[in-house]
Amino acid sequence: MEKKTARKETINRIMSYIMRYKFCGAMSILCAVINVVSTLYVPILIGRAIDCIAYGSLDRGRLMSILVRAALSTIIAALSLWCMNESNNKLTYSIVRDVRNEAFCKLHVLPFEYLDSHPAGGILSRVIADADQFADGLLMGFSQLFTGVMTILITLGFMLMMNPLITLIVVFVTPLSLFVARFISKHTYDMFTVQSGIRGEQTELIDEMIGNEKIVKTFSYEEKAVKRFDEINGRLQSASLKALFFSSLTNPGTRFVNSVVYAFVALSGAFAVVTGGMSVGLLTSFLSYANQYTKPFNEISGVLTELQNAFACAGRVFELIDENEEKSDADLPVMMIDTSCDANAADKGHAAKNSGSVRCDGVCFSYDKEKKLIEDLNIDVKPGEHVAIVGPTGCGKTTMINLLMRFYDIDKGSITVDGRDIRRVTRKSLRHLYGMVLQDTWLRHGTIRDNIKMGRDIPDEEMIRAAKEVHSHSFIRRLKNGYDTVIGEEGGSLSQGQKQLLCITRIMLSLPPMLILDEATSSIDTRTEMKIQDAFLKMMEGRTSFIVAHRLSTVRNADLILVMKTGNIIEQGTHDELLAGRGFYYELYNSQFV
């Protein structure tokens, strides 16, 4: 039941999209009706024309007028078909564009709980593949389902008008064709399930072995991989053969039923002609109907499967669109920080000293509400202070960033910036205050220039100056086309260190009043890091900065060090204070130099 209502909802939803393009939809239906009627009228006219034909006594005038009518009917049918195709194209492609736009916009308002817990591939396939399948199915549904049903009904009507008895024969034999189709599809369904199971298994292996081929080569695992692959491949072969063969029986099967219908119509029709119940021309019309009549049945069963698939795909896209969003903050005020840190002031490397204080009061947070993570966290960061967050892997350092930037909302307590609760201002304005360099560098397909400027309107000279300051200029210059070098997805051929340098350059250009650096230097070698250090220090001067790092050397000069372990801050203070305390930090610090 639940499934049924869900499907109904999906269909209603699709209808509401169709309503946006009412004109196209109406055109499509109107043209389909005109097309079907005029198409089906042609055989009747041809039948009449044939009745005109007789040895020695041809009524040319009558024949000509019938043929002219047939020609007109043909032209009307063709025009309406063309018009219908155009409307359908516009309708379906526009709908899919809309759906895709909505799905994409959704990506920017989905909470990170969702993004972090759902693999990107799955979301991607909803926006791309599912939307595509939906378009295909919808197009097919529009162009074939409606006309198919119309064709059957109108054909039946015409046939009834011509000869009810023969029509009855046709109607009784037809279900046979449906039965054959149903029988075959029911049996092939299981075979397809088996096939897709094995195929999934194979894809998984391909994914692993090719995705990590360098590791495979390292351990000379190639031959074993091939062996495993071939074993699955063999199973796939026999399963595929079965599925493919049985599914391909539908056409010959229904075609056979079709020819039986045809023979019966010919038989009964011919008898009727002999007894004078109908003319030869009428029999011809009948026969050509009998030929066309069963075709839509085959098509419809195909279209229905396709449509079902399309609805399922649409359902998945809608599911994404309907996913809970981050709480809207449109009605909240914009967070303003002391205006003295606008672009001009930032250029000089000086930010307002009296803004950028951050306080955490009794903050509790966890990703999984069953498992406690951060509990009762209290920190007080004064404007311009540098805070270092250290601790072993998985201790919750990245979580801190998620909370400060409000990628996640805290469960209890409050975080304030300059005395204002960050939940009471727009996310955008809050994030504007921070410059962030993340552990996972993110670069996009495009030129180095685009990647540094990130769509901001910044003159080249300034970009180059920033690049020089963080020592990325020298390696960029050495690339094939300098700043115009196009880099592939996710940075392509650049080394991890180079990617991070680019991300740092990006921040260097905007210099917001507060900084978050998440292990930004973890795979840049220490020498380059030292050079960057100067630039960093200049950039950090007067700016409240949070630095997450493995390397203790980078955090020694911090005003406040937060030592984290299993989600909690277990120690906080300056380097000297913490060393004197001989606690966890002391242990961590010393292990470096043993």
Binding site: V42, I46, I50, A54, G56, L58, A70, A71, T74, A78, L79, L81, N85, E86, Y93, N101, F104, H108, L115, V127, I128, E204, D207, M209, I210, G211, N212, E213, T218, F219, S220, E222, S240, F245, L249, F256, S259, A263, L267, A270, P392, T393, G394, K428, G455, F475, E489, G497, Q498, S510, D525, T526, R527, E529, M530, H550, S553, S591, F593, V594
Partner: protein, 573 residues
């Protein structure tokens, strides 16, 4: 696509029989209008009911024979198509497995995966449909034409004209449509790229508050896709109405001419009906043919993409020559592993990643390799198992140039822990046995102990604990330690740690290095790192800067003589 047809070789019989059976089916179908014609002329004309019944019997018989041949044809076609895909997939996988690191860098793994899956399936469908329909449809079209000739040569000329015009129309449409479809695909690729980027970079985009700009970009691209789709749609929207008009125009002319001929007694009424029926058959078949051509185009495009992948020559080939065995006595005086004036370029046009490297390592020594990002540390160690070939100079392992050694045997002596810690779906034991298939549980336990990950194994429930794909259910540090254990299971002569302790905290890292140093079978160890603390106990440390050796010696020597090393050391402390 042509090159791929070799995979049909094994199925020659099927490939010949499938279309042949299809042709048989078509022939039986072509007889039907003739039977109808004789029903009209003889049965109805003569009022002969028995004759009519006989004719209808013949029609049903034709149907049954047609069904049998069709079913055989479907089976043959399916068998050949599936066999084709199976062979192709297997060879393609083997081919991909034979590619070198350099090839992989150049083609990209996601492309290769798509070729293996979606493209091969598309090709299979193409072959299947080709065998089933490609002979049938033209055969019906031309067969109908020939049958028309047997009825009346004059009327048949209309058939010739119509078929010629139809071919031109369909041909032109295809020609213009294919580039259009390609452009649609290009736009769709762009949409995919944008979506993926926005998913991957969600944090950065929101941090930079770039949502609106991204949305605008996407909407623009999406509108572009719509435009291309509709452009391609205009053409295909015209195809069906045009064929419909053509065929019906021909029918009208046919009836008119037929009527004149019946009047003068050249043709019978039944024969005109037969001609009309043949024309209708052509129409039905043409629609199928058009669909088939679209499908075939897709299949050919897939085939071409697959072929491109086949065309990539593995640039490292096993050129094993019997020039003496590695490990010949006397080899080792000059060093177990030697680099002689080695330089390396990753691409022909690029800069040298390594220039003129000289190094000699004795068996059992520990070598530290240190240097900045992009200085060539990984490149040096990747040359030892011959993942890349040196552009100039020689890499010698155990007295023989690696280029002359059996690659498999060479790599079997090396335990490599790569930068990226990757594990595979399966049990922990299965993962560890990548190092050595025959390792028993004690050996596994020993390797695990050395790699300081006994706790990881215990936490997952022992050696039978499951690891998910890519080791998702482990943290970065846990994965890294298991990959180290995996290399140690092999009890390698040469152990290479390529910056593989970066996710470990200092205490664990230290313990690990101690365990490796204390092991009883003597390994030659290469440690690549950015921290001086990781290499300072090495017998020799090589300092790299921009692909050149700028220092070689012990920790103490280097602190004295090598400014770069000193700088790194200072920045570490």
């Amino acid at each position: 696509m042509k090159d791929l047809l070799r995979y049909l070789k094994e199925y020659k019989t099927e490939c010949v029989l499938a279309p042949l059976f299809k042709m048989l089916e078509a022939i039986f179908e072509l007889f039907v209008p003739l039977v109808v014609a004789s029903i009209i002329d003889k049965g109805i004309g003569g009022g002969d009911r028995a004759y009519i019944v006989k004719c209808c019997g013949i029609m049903i018989t034709l149907g049954i024979v047609g069904l049998i041949s069709a079913v055989s044809a479907q089976y043959m076609a399916a068998k050949a198509a599936v066999g084709f895909a199976t062979g192709l997939r297997s060879d393609l996988f083997k081919h991909i497995m034979s590619l070198s690191h350099k090839n992989i860098d150049e083609s990209g793994t996601s492309t290769m995966i798509t070729r293996m899956t979606a493209d091969v399936n598309q090709a299979q469908t193409g072959v299947n449909m080709f065998l089933r329909l490609f002979l049938r449809s033209p055969f019906i079209v031309f067969g109908a034409m020939i049958m028309a000739f047997t009825i009346d040569a004059n009327a048949a000329l209309i058939f010739v004209a119509v078929i010629a015009v139809l071919f031109i129309v369909v041909g032109l449409t295809m020609r213009f449509n294919i580039p259009m479809l390609k452009r649609v695909q290009g736009r769709l690729d762009k949409i995919t790229l944008l979506t993926r980027e926005n998913l991957m970079g969600a944090r950065v985009i929101r941090a930079f508050t770039m949502e609106e700009k991204e949305r605008d970009d996407f909407e623009k691209t999406n509108d572009g896709l719509l435009m291309e789709q509709r452009l391609a749609g205009h053409l295909s929207a015209m195809l069906n109405p045009m064929t419909f008009v053509l065929i019906n125009a021909a029918v009208i002319v046919l009836i008119y001419i037929g009527a004149l001929k019946v009047e003068t007694g050249i043709l019978t009424k039944g024969q005109v009906v037969a001609l009309y029926n043949y024309m209708s058959q052509i129409l039905v078949e043409l629609i199928k043919l058009a669909n088939l051509i679209v499908l075939l185009n897709k299949a050919i495009a897939s085939g071409d993409r697959i072929n491109d992948l086949f065309r990539i020559e593995p640039d490292i080939k096993d050129t094993y020559r019997e020039e003496g065995q590695p490990g010949d006595p006397g080899n080792e005086d000059e060093g177990f592993i030697r680099f002689e004036h080695v330089s390396l370029k990753y691409s022909d046009t690029g800069d040298e990643a390594l220039s003129d490297i000289d190094l000699s390592v004795k068996r059992g020594e520990t070598i530290g390799i240190i240097g900045g990002t992009g200085s060539g540390k990984s490149s040096v160690v990747n040359l030892i198992p011959r993942f890349y070939d040196a552009t100039h100079g020689k890499v010698i392992v155990d007295g023989l140039d690696v280029k002359g050694q059996d690659i498999k045997a060479l790599r079997a002596r090396i335990g490599m822990v790569p930068q990226k810690a990757v594990l595979f779906k399966g049990t922990i034991a299965e993962n560890l046995r990548w190092g050595n298939e025959d390792a028993n549980e004690d050996e596994l336990a020993e390797a695990v102990r050395m790699a300081v990950c006994t706790d990881v194994v215990d936490a997952k429930g022992g050696f039978d604990g499951m690891i998910e794909q890519n080791g998702r259910n482990l943290s970065g540090g846990q994965r890294q330690r298991l990959t180290i254990a995996r290399a140690l299971v092999r009890k390698p002569e040469i152990l290479i740690l390529d910056d593989s302790a970066s996710a470990l905290d200092f205490a664990t890292d230290l313990k690990l290095r101690r365990n490796i140093a204390q092991t009883d079978h003597k390994m030659t160890v290469f440690i690549v790192s950015q921290r001086t603390s990781a290499v300072q106990n090495a017998d020799k440390i090589m300092v790299l800067d921009d692909g050149c050796v700028v220092g070689l010696g012990t920790h103490e020597d280097l602190l004295k003589d090598c400014p770069v090393y000193k700088e790194i050391y200072d920045s570490n402390t």
